[in-house]
């Protein structure tokens, strides 16, 4: 017969083992799913102050699916779409090859 103290120790050890195992599984899923590469709350990946200031305008455009399709509606659509495309273009040469060149890395 085990004493109550021994049982308590076994229970504690089991609880720790379960916690370690579930945390390990969670971290594996977090890493393998690629979510880790999108997580900007990690140390070193936090957004800059200027980046926070230039957050996307929350006053978003929504194409009204119930409206009539008129030239004016499409003009507005094109104007708003152009604004989003310009924002995409603001990032010049994203993932350009030269960022990993020998010269840039100092090789």
């Amino acid at each position: 017969m085990k004493t109550a103290g021994a049982r308590l120790v076994i229970l504690g050890v089991m609880a720790i083992m379960i916690a370690v195992a579930t945390t390990g599984v969670s971290l594996a899923v977090y890493h393998n799913s690629g979510d880790i590469y999108l997580d900007r709350s990690r140390p070193g990946f936090l957004p800059d102050e200027e980046e926070i200031d230039s957050e996307i305008d929350e006053d978003e455009y929504d194409f009204d699916e119930n409206s009539m399709l008129t030239k004016e509606n499409l003009d507005e659509y094109l104007e708003k779409l152009d604004g989003e495309i310009k924002a995409v273009d603001a990032y010049q040469n994203p993932f350009a090859a030269d960022a990993l060149s020998d010269e840039k890395l100092g090789i």
């Binding site: 690629g34 590469y37 999108l38 900007r40 070193g44 990946f45 957004p47 980046e51 996307i56 978003e60 455009y61 929504d62 194409f63 009204d64 699916e65 409206s67 399709l69 008129t70 030239k71 499409l74 003009d75 659509y77 094109l78 708003k80 779409l81 152009d82 989003e84 495309i85 924002a87 995409v88 273009d89 990032y91 994203p94 993932f95 350009a96 090859a97 960022a99 990993l100 020998d102 840039k104 890395l105 100092g106 090789i107």
Partner: protein
Amino acid sequence: MKKILAAVIDRGMIGLLVPCVGASAISEEKQASVAENCETIKARLVTLQHSDSRTRVYLGRYYEIILSDFITPLNIWLVGHNVSNTGLIDNQSNFALKRGDFVSDYITYQKSLEGLVAMDCKNEPSKFYDELVRVREKREIVENDVKKMRSLMTEQVMLVKDLRGKL
């Protein structure tokens, strides 16, 4: 007999070629440079990781906005009003597919870059450089995904202008 001889020659040649394929193309001068500047190279790679993460989040957010606020609602309208426009429908599926490629290719690239940063460039500069070449290839794939996404945006504008012209 000729076939057997040809096979033997082939295998012999393959045997000679295999070490060449597996060998690193890096010069001794570069190996020395990698080993010497190991810490600086790693620091630059980490900085690149951070800036890539920022770019990925930024672009991904705009791709999502363009798909969910512009491309999809317009197509829903077209379907709801029985207006046939296969170009816009195709563009939506191409946009969604390419966006998926961008997401997965970026993860593949980042995993490789992470592996590269963890490598011992001081003691294994040749291996490190070979891996760097592979990471470059993966980065190029992501760059091409971004270019394709941009061209699909241009196509959306052209198709909508075309639709507008028909009204």
